[in-house]
Symmetry: C2
Subunit: 436 residues, 2 copies
């Protein structure tokens, strides 16, 4: 099976665990069979591998997610980077062309497109395998997975099939209806559209060439910015007559809000927290080093990270987005390709940061115009280059770098450093990079 996982999301709905640089699929919140915490991305990848050891996984995503994906999955997956944000049709086209031109997938092979964040049982991926076979062998141009609805939701699009059979031709699509309409559709056997499409690669390449003029993957990537924002549903599904749908009635959850996200937590508390016996249906996720004490909390979610603290009624949590938008909080924690950074202290003319460098990784060789920096090595070993001079670094070592000084450090073992930045108007833009 060839699968394209669409990994998008700005991460506002699960603030403060997700933020501008960390989307919800990267939050380690689930326990795998070994009792270790894993993210939605790692969970989905593990499930795919378990049903198809031969699968080829391509993740279609934006530049800023590449580090997190590589940190969590290593080089086991193919990453197709969108040069900028467009909608799902351009993103799927780019990934499909990448599969053809770079991965050597043939035009008559099937490709399954799936969101990166469904919270599902393994049977869901068995269904994707079946969908892939259906796409490869059947007469339909497009094969969809229809989720058996559990209630008349207003949040999803509906697929109206011609029959109630396990596999049926699709009659029509209905965009997010109101509850009354949703009830009517469900009575007629309608299914939720879970955003899963399967097709033969050649079919999608033809649709792409009809809409977008391009020669190959490099060319499409270079023109990407000019492309119209258009969804796959609108550009392809709603215009296609030969569509079939496979009914899926296993567990399926869309973990888009704290309310649904906490339903998937196997234990009510992650991180340091105490809940007294008067608490009911309350979840706590605490990424901070300090304890959280909850008393008499009912139907609430409490989440704390370096970015902030959310204390919300579960129902109310679905209205979070505009509040997060207005906060414009400086990013206090970020995973990077080389490790992570955490802002520890913010003063008017200084900033104190903890840097964790993964073994074998290093920073860019860089300088700043308007700030001095001081590194104090807490733990680990590595090598620094300061104005062209290389030196070893070990715990207790201190390196002062005045403005203009070119510097980098790389880790031999995991390296933890306290960096104090000193200067007026400290910004991330004040940075020059140099070849080493």
């Amino acid at each position: 099976m060839n699968i394209i996982l669409l990994s998008g999301g700005s991460g506002q709905r699960l603030w403060p665990l997700s933020n501008g640089v960390r989307s919800k699929q990267f939050i380690r919140i689930f326990r795998n069979e070994d009792g270790e915490l894993e993210s939605m991305l790692a969970r989905v990848y593990r499930q795919i591998i378990s049903v198809d050891g031969e699968v080829g996984v391509t993740i279609a995503t934006s530049k800023k997610q590449v580090s997190s994906i590589k940190n969590q999955l290593g080089d086991r997956v193919n990453i197709c980077v969108e040069p900028c944000r467009r909608d799902t049709f351009p993103a799927i086209c780019l990934a499909a062309v990448c599969l053809h031109d770079e991965q050597g997938v043939k035009e008559d092979e099937a490709v399954v497109v799936c969101p990166v964040d469904p919270y599902v049982e393994d049977s869901y991926f068995e269904a994707l395998k079946e969908l892939s076979r259906m796409a490869e062998t059947g007469n339909a141009n497009l094969s969809l997975l229809g989720i058996e609805p559990t209630y008349p939701s207003e949040k999803y699009g509906y697929i109206i099939p011609v029959s109630g059979d396990r596999v049926s031709r699709v009659d029509t699509f209905k965009e997010k209806p109101d509850v009354a309409a949703a009830e009517k559709y469900i009575a007629k056997g309608a299914l939720w559209n879970g955003g899963v499409f399967a097709f033969r690669l050649g079919y999608l390449l033809r649709r792409a060439h009809e809409v977008i003029p391009f020669t190959d993957y490099q060319d499409l990537s270079a023109r990407y910015e000019e492309l119209e924002k258009i969804s796959f549903d609108y550009a392809v599904a709603e215009r296609e007559k030969r569509i079939q749908v496979l009914r899926y009635n296993g567990g399926w959850k869309d973990l888009g809000t704290w309310n649904t996200f906490t339903e998937a937590m196997e234990e009510p508390v992650l991180g340091r927290a105490i809940l007294n016996e008067a608490c009911e249906n309350t979840n706590v996720v605490n990424e901070l080093n300090i304890p959280i004490l909850c008393m008499g909390c009912r139907n609430m979610v409490v989440a704390a990270s370096s970015d902030g603290i959310l204390v919300s009624d579960k129902e109310q949590s679905s209205y979070i987005k505009p509040f997060v938008e207005q906060m414009e909080q400086q990013v206090m924690y970020a995973e990077k390709s080389w490790g992570s950074f955490t802002v520890l202290d913010v003063q008017e003319d200084s900033l104190t940061i903890k840097i964790v460098l993964l073994p074998g990784h290093g920073l860019y060789y860089h300088s700043h115009d308007h700030r001095d920096e001081v590194w104090t090595v807490m733990s680990g070993r590595g090598r620094a280059v300061i104005d062209g001079i290389e030196r070893e670094v070990a715990p207790g070592d201190v390196i002062s770098m005045p403005a203009g000084c070119r510097h980098t450090v790389s880790a031999e073992t995991e390296l933890k450093i306290i960096e104090v930045q000193l200067g007026e108007n400290i910004t991330v833009e004040d940075k020059h990079k140099y070849p080493l």
Copy 2:
């Protein structure tokens, strides 16, 4: 007027703003007329001064509160330090002997004893002045302030007066009754015992000498550890026949729990927080640098400090004590005589701390056996002494101090320093002090 303020409290009930080293009376949570935040201690002191510019204020407290008191009130008050924790009778005796031996207060002068933390109107202190006059001139040996009850509380002791007059002889005392008994007492004109006593100094010195053998203040202080734990109510009030009570019917609140504490907050939010419109009767106190977002919170208190985060139903918050006791959290923030420290990061073999030194203050000259330390100066100017060698320090300066190195720093202007401690099993006990 001579007033003894009893400043006790372990501060567990208002966790995480109060802790083992910061009691509730030091939390800056009220706004004064200039719009600045002030603590309960500063508020009470300001109120006392406003009704009696000639007042002599003595604060009876434990060693660990001395720094906070001096930081907030400077040298304007006399501090009487209990060598260890006993109950109110020994504490009041020690303060009374201190007034006599050290402050030159005469035996026929009146002394008023008052808790440091009543949340009251200025009229309360007018009443204390009246009580002081009553104590000095009347026939009673003990004069009490009785608070007009507003409901049949089970939390307070009750004073049963002989008459309903503004000033009356006291018939008897009743310890914390149940609601039914409290209702009966109130129907008969009973008053809450707010813990305020006035007496002529000579009277208390005689009571003290009857129970405790001592010669003078130094002697009593030296013997303090041997003294029995006994309350003033039990040792004096319940055995005295000639007691009068003055009715006080102005505003009076005992801010002992979050529930009552938040009632005294003039604005629902202190610090960075957003409450959505679905929140009701919810207070937030945020001492952290990250924002708190509350959605759909009803009758709740949310409090965050470097020590932890409390999310509690207001009613439930009165049951906080056992949970705080079980947490045994490392103190992450403390006010010191020289300024403050905040723990920023805790690793296995290192600890990162922000030190703020107030102008004119310095650390002890000290060394550590088992850890190295590195200072990076963020802002301010001062002088350091490192192994006997004095040097100036300014922003960007870095000082490395290996284990065994004797070091100190003092501030000329407010000095902010990042200190990285490096070593195994870092403890506060690993410290030797030296004369400078």
